[in-house]
Amino acid sequence: MKQTWIQTWIKFQRLIKLLVAIMVVFTIHLAYSAPNLEIDTPAINALKSSMQARHGQLAPFYGSGAIGLTSNGLIAVRDAKALPLKDRQGINALVASENTDRSKLYQEIAVANGHPEWGSSIQDAFAGRWIDKAQTGWYYQAAGGWTQK
């Protein structure tokens, strides 16, 4: 009777060890597989190069404060008056196409990683990084409205 109890206890200990081992292995596996997100798909690359090409046009407008980075990872016209008259015409279309690309980019990253529902979380992650990486002098939307970096 006693022996059975001991045997059971030993077995139980082994079991615990095994489980710990499984969990350790599993944890290691997790750590190793804490994966980089897949961002190298044709769709994401196409959006990236579209945005790269547009950035040449947008950069001076960030600099002059005509446009700024919004808190939700997009951009917006902040002050059209900061622009020469001739540039005011195209600015809305430029901002609209940039925002279309950005929204698509967030969604495509979510889709490329098999979680279409991640779109808005990815957008949030980007929102902070755009602002962090913005050049000094550029404007971004903060709680108190437009703020200059």
């Binding site: 997100l37 961002i39 040449g56 990253i109 992650a125 980007f126």
Partner: protein, 62 residues
Amino acid sequence: MEKNILVLLLAGVLTACVTINIYFPAAAAQEAADQIIDDVWKIKEGDAKAPGAASETPTQDK
């Protein structure tokens, strides 16, 4: 009895596993964002050089 415990614990581990996978990989997303933003905004530095580089590229006649 042991088997029951085993099954329970395994079930626990498995359930945990499922839960873990649902979390949004915030750090990875930040990293991905950094990479993409660097690519998109880097174009500014290349701007000045681009036209010169382009003119050096031999043009091909068809």
